[in-house]
């Protein structure tokens, strides 16, 4: 058994793993019930799929340029996929995504509501806020009416 055969066996194994997990991630995105569960499938499966394919490239080609770039791709996948899914989940929760019917509890919503209640109880001046038609903007500088009212 020559070294080329061993390399080919390894790269066949890793390529099959990568292809399988990539496809499973896509199926999970179609099948799972709500956006949080879909994010599970998206982040984990694409990371492991890209890892497997990059390892197949390393074992088949074997030049130092390919090895370095493939390792960089793996590192980037390990960092970028979880960060992207975290940002998406945070944004979806902020946007009020309706969770699945069978979700048992949501402590993030509880804590947000408790904090909102506490801040309005601590600061009674906040009672003026609901009378305004729109919630307060983050930076008054970009809103011309807010700047005028601040000046007046």
């Amino acid at each position: 058994m020559t070294s080329a055969t061993v390399n080919d066996i390894l790269s066949i194994f890793f390529a099959l793993c990568g292809i399988f997990f990539m496809f499973v991630g896509a199926v999970g995105i179609v099948r799972f019930p709500d956006a949080y569960n879909r994010l599970h499938a998206a982040s984990k499966c694409s990371t492991l799929g890209v890892m497997g394919l990059a390892l197949a490239a390393i074992f088949h080609v074997g030049a130092l340029a390919v090895t370095t770039k493939a390792l960089m791709t793996i590192l980037f996948a390990l960092v970028a996929a979880p960060v992207g899914s975290h940002m998406l989940a945070k944004a979806a929760h902020l946007d009020g995504l309706k969770p699945w019917d069978r979700q048992l509890s949501d402590e993030l919503t509880q804590d947000k509501e408790r904090q909102a209640g506490k801040s309005s109880a601590n600061a009674p001046r906040g009672m003026a806020a609901p009378s305004q038609p729109r919630p307060a903007r983050r930076d008054p500088g970009s809103d011309p009416t807010a700047r005028i009212s601040a000046v007046v």
């Binding site: 999970g28 982040s43 499966c45 990371t47 492991l48 130092l64 989940a89 048992l104 402590e107 993030l108």
Partner: protein, 158 residues
């Protein structure tokens, strides 16, 4: 942990440039020489030694790949079998003993472990909100998170 390792990589690059040979054995040779130099230099300073740190990091890497494969097999099993068996929950997890960089590492590894996904961090960086896929009992899910947290703190952060 990070600084001696970056120094090791720098020594490797210097060795490769000095010998002008980019074959894989030569790069590994440069890495080994840098490893030896840093280990010997670390003998004079107190604190945990460099080879011990690298060994613990390697052990964590093997464990991490194992749980990453486990997570993917779980999702594959959920996709193949008909019907949905998830019992999701969003639970909070106490991270007030970590710095911001350690919190990032912990959040990334929580997202890549089976059945958990980080949703949000509280504004004062004390609580992590984690979406668990299989959390019929809350206590079991919290214990899993706590075990990963302890393992990461012992083997990577010291």
């Amino acid at each position: 942990m990070m600084r001696p390792f970056l120094l090791n990589l720098l020594l490797t690059i210097v060795y490769v440039f000095l010998t002008a040979d980019t074959s894989t054995p030569n790069v590994l040779m440069g890495f080994g020489i840098g490893f030896l130099v840093i280990s010997l230099a670390g003998l004079t300073t107190p604190g945990p030694s460099y080879p011990g740190k690298v060994w613990r990091l390697l052990r964590f890497g093997v464990y991490f790949v194992k749980i990453l494969v486990q997570a993917n097999l779980k999702i594959a099993w959920e996709c193949i079998t008909p019907g949905l068996s998830q019992t999701p929950r969003i639970i909070r997890h106490d991270v007030s003993d970590l710095t911001d960089g350690q919190l990032t590492v912990l959040a990334n590894s929580i997202t890549l472990t089976p059945g958990t996904l980080v949703v949000d961090v509280s504004d004062d960086h004390k609580w992590l909100y984690v979406h668990c896929m299989y959390a019929q009992e809350r206590a079991a899910a919290v214990a899993d998170l706590r075990a990963l947290h302890e393992r990461l703190r012992k083997e990577v952060f010291e």
